[in-house]
């Protein structure tokens, strides 16, 4: 009798575990189907999309809960430098870009926990209204723990390892076509304790 009860309980438990794990795996796997890459930037269609079915809806809810629709805003995220290495506080980076075919844009740094880094620097982002391009039409921003002589600065102090930058493009024009050439470029300048 006891063996039979244990067998039923085991079957139910294993079934529930496999079902839940497979659902989570499908959501993780499905995330990739919503992603496009432009250089180091990744763009997810999931954020702000209209759901076409239960799987799509679940993926969107996990990836972009309360996000704006693509008509209002596009989101791009980068987590590696130009040499493919994860971004880290110990390095100094230069972010360069040109004006985008959009009404407004911003770039914000998030620590590994997806929140703003706790550093008290009040330099978590740059945006179109506060960024000035040079004579060559290119704006430059330093991503580093200290500002130095940079005109535009995004502080990575206390961001640790594996931080990311998110580019938000608001009210993109009809002709806005993302590409590796058009989006800002992130280059590593130096890293503490190593040559870049």
């Amino acid at each position: 009798m006891m063996r039979r009860v244990l067998a039923w309980a085991g079957a139910i438990l294993i079934g529930l575990s496999l079902g839940a794990a497979s659902a989570w795996a499908v959501l993780d796997f499905g995330r990739a189907s919503f992603s496009e890459s432009y250089g180091g930037w990744t763009h997810s269609h999931a954020a702000g999309s209209a759901a076409a079915g239960p799987y799509t809806r679940a993926i969107i809810a996990r990836e972009g809960l309360l996000a704006l629709s693509a008509r209002e805003a596009l989101y791009f995220t980068i987590g590696v430098d130009d040499q493919g290495r994860p971004l880290q506080e110990a390095c100094v980076y230069e972010l360069t870009g040109r004006e985008l075919d959009a009404r407004w844009w911003s770039v914000t740094l998030y620590a590994g926990d997806s929140f703003l880094a706790r550093n008290g620097d009040h330099a978590a982002s740059i945006d179109a209204s506060r960024t000035r391009a040079g004579a060559d039409g290119v704006w430059r921003a330093r991503v580093a723990p200290v500002r130095g002589d940079a005109l535009h600065w995004i502080s990575s102090r206390a961001a640790g390892r594996d931080f990311t930058l998110t580019l938000r493009v608001y009210n993109p024009m009809r002709e806005f076509r993302p590409s590796a050439e058009m989006l800002p470029v992130l280059r590593v300048i130096s890293c503490a304790g190593a040559s870049a």
Binding site: L18, G19, L27, R57, A58, L65, L66, N171
Partner: protein, 173 residues
């Protein structure tokens, strides 16, 4: 060791049920968590979130360049009027159903003086000009206003009291 087919079938049925439950429940659970965090138990009422700083830990990846106002609406007592005060930079009003669907969005390009809609379960019975049908009884209305500086956020705070999120019965038109 031989496993009786009835146990395999039981495991299979449980796996299918658990799989479907996780897929269907994920958006509802995540939205419910968001609604309870935003509403703090109070519905049909705008809340202007404090300026986003490094101390903001409610929703991941907050933008420090925006002032966010949120209202968890509940249509149980009838249609809800949503109005937004004018803002001279970018703003948008987004409506999300309780399953996370973003079913409506309007911004300053379409409504320079601000939005003025009546949210209802059945758009046919309301003023067709500004009635918006909500797919669910409850959901979240979210205003984003571009305010990248402390001064701009303070300006939003001064006008946010003019935003309306209230049942039709409690609103003078």
């Amino acid at each position: 060791m031989k496993i009786a087919p009835k146990y395999l079938w039981a495991a299979l049925v449980c796996a299918v049920l658990a799989h479907a439950l996780v897929i269907l429940a994920t958006p509802l659970v995540l939205m419910n968590v968001a609604m309870s965090r935003v509403s703090e138990g109070s519905y049909n009422h705008w809340r202007l979130a404090p300026r986003v700083t490094e101390a903001s830990r409610t929703i991941v990846r907050p933008s420090p360049d925006f002032a966010y106002s949120a209202c968890v609406y509940d249509l149980a007592a009838g249609p809800v009027v949503i109005r937004t005060a004018p803002w001279d930079a970018y703003w948008s009003l987004s409506l999300y159903a309780d399953n996370s669907d973003n079913f409506y969005v309007i911004g300053d390009r379409e409504a320079r003086p601000g939005a003025d809609i009546t949210l209802t379960r059945d758009a046919r019975v309301e003023d067709a000009a500004n009635a918006v049908r909500s797919p669910s009884r409850r959901g979240i209305a979210l205003i984003r206003r571009l305010a990248p500086t402390p001064e701009a956020y303070a300006a939003v705070a001064r006008i946010a009291d003019e935003d309306v999120c209230a049942t039709l019965a409690h609103t003078a038109r």
